[in-house]
């Protein structure tokens, strides 16, 4: 049962207030029509699903309704931090985008 720090509300809140938003930083292809079926299918369906650190989104459903970024270890349930979407992108890029 997680407690997340909402970077917008500035408070720790219980998991029940949040919704899971899936893997973070899967940008929509700018020109989908130029992609072949495999590349489009990869964007649609393929996921990292790592055992270990995972950059993911959560949405503060009953609070500020904002999506934000959490770095969470899927093997241990540990949480390294939470960020706004833009700050999370910076933190993710600073790690080289790796998981």
């Amino acid at each position: 049962m997680f407690v997340f720090f909402c970077p917008h509300c500035g408070e720790n809140r219980e998991e029940e207030e949040f919704g899971y938003g899936g893997e973070a930083f899967i940008p929509r292809p700018a020109t989908p029509e130029t992609l072949n079926d495999d590349a489009w299918g990869d964007y649609l369906f393929m996921r990292k699903n790592p055992k270990g650190w995972h950059w993911e989104m959560w949405s503060h459903n009953t609070g500020c309704r904002k999506f934000f970024v959490v770095k969470r270890n899927t093997a241990t349930n540990a949480i390294a931090g939470s960020w706004t979407l833009s700050d999370g992108r910076k933190a993710y890029d600073a790690e080289g985008g790796a998981t």
Binding site: H8, C9, G10, E11, R13, E14, E16, E17, H60, N61, T62, G63, C64, R65, K66
Partner: protein
């Protein structure tokens, strides 16, 4: 044709007729505070032009500190997110306030929506009010300080809650109000629930003067 009459979401419970002054006979006191104006205001809290225009129209500084609320004679302004506020006003004033806001915010990225039909408010007080909140929500209400607002869960619905006077105010969505009321009644069962004559505040006072309200 009959005159327009407002009916609040909890009208069918007939709470108004059961209300009595708060005393020691029940551990929990509650009632609906119906017919209040609710305006959803959207805009960028980091945009100084927006904040000052909105503050001017509202007559009080727009709270930009997360999870806080601001109160004046005529409105309460609840911070809901970095770009969303709920303005609680008298219903008769909601329309005018919307217009004032729209006028003041012309040219600034914003949204002003009259949402008065979409919400109602529940008063919760008494010596065991905090116990009831512990039963119904995952939020740490013990830590909720005056002047702060929490958007959180209430049963399997949601609520915006803040402290006022000796009690709490719960702003809930209209269509969930029936469920939430029943849920609160159930949670309050161990302490005895009294239907409270809610201390009239400025918002309610003006509301009843300006509109017709169905008898409870």
């Amino acid at each position: 044709m009959s005159e327009p009459v407002m009916r609040s979401p909890l009208h069918s419970f007939g709470l108004a007729s059961q209300a009595k002054p708060i005393d020691g006979s029940s551990g929990v006191w509650a009632n609906e505070i119906p017919h209040i104006g609710y305006i959803s205001l959207r805009g960028d809290g980091r945009d100084q032009a927006f904040v000052s225009a909105a503050s001017k129209a509202l007559g009080i500084p727009l709270p930009i500190e997360p999870c806080t609320l601001a109160t004046s004679e005529s409105v309460k302004v609840l911070w809901l997110s970095p770009d969303e506020w709920m303005i609680v006003s008298a219903p008769g004033q909601a329309n005018a306030l919307c217009s004032r806001l729209e006028l003041a915010l012309a040219g600034v990225r914003n949204q002003v929506v009259d949402n008065s039909g979409g919400y109602t408010q529940i008063f919760l007080g008494g010596t065991h009010a905090l116990d009831v909140l512990r039963h119904v929500s995952v939020y740490d209400f013990e830590s909720l300080q005056p002047g702060r607002v929490a958007g959180t869960t209430l049963g399997k619905s949601s609520v915006y809650a803040f402290r006022q006077g000796n009690g709490y105010r719960l702003i809930v969505r209209r269509s969930f109000a029936d469920y939430i009321w029943r849920y609160l009644v159930r949670a309050a069962n161990p302490y005895g629930l009294g239907i409270a004559d809610v201390p009239v505040d400025n918002l309610v006072g003006t509301s009843t003067a300006s509109v017709n309200v169905a008898a409870g």
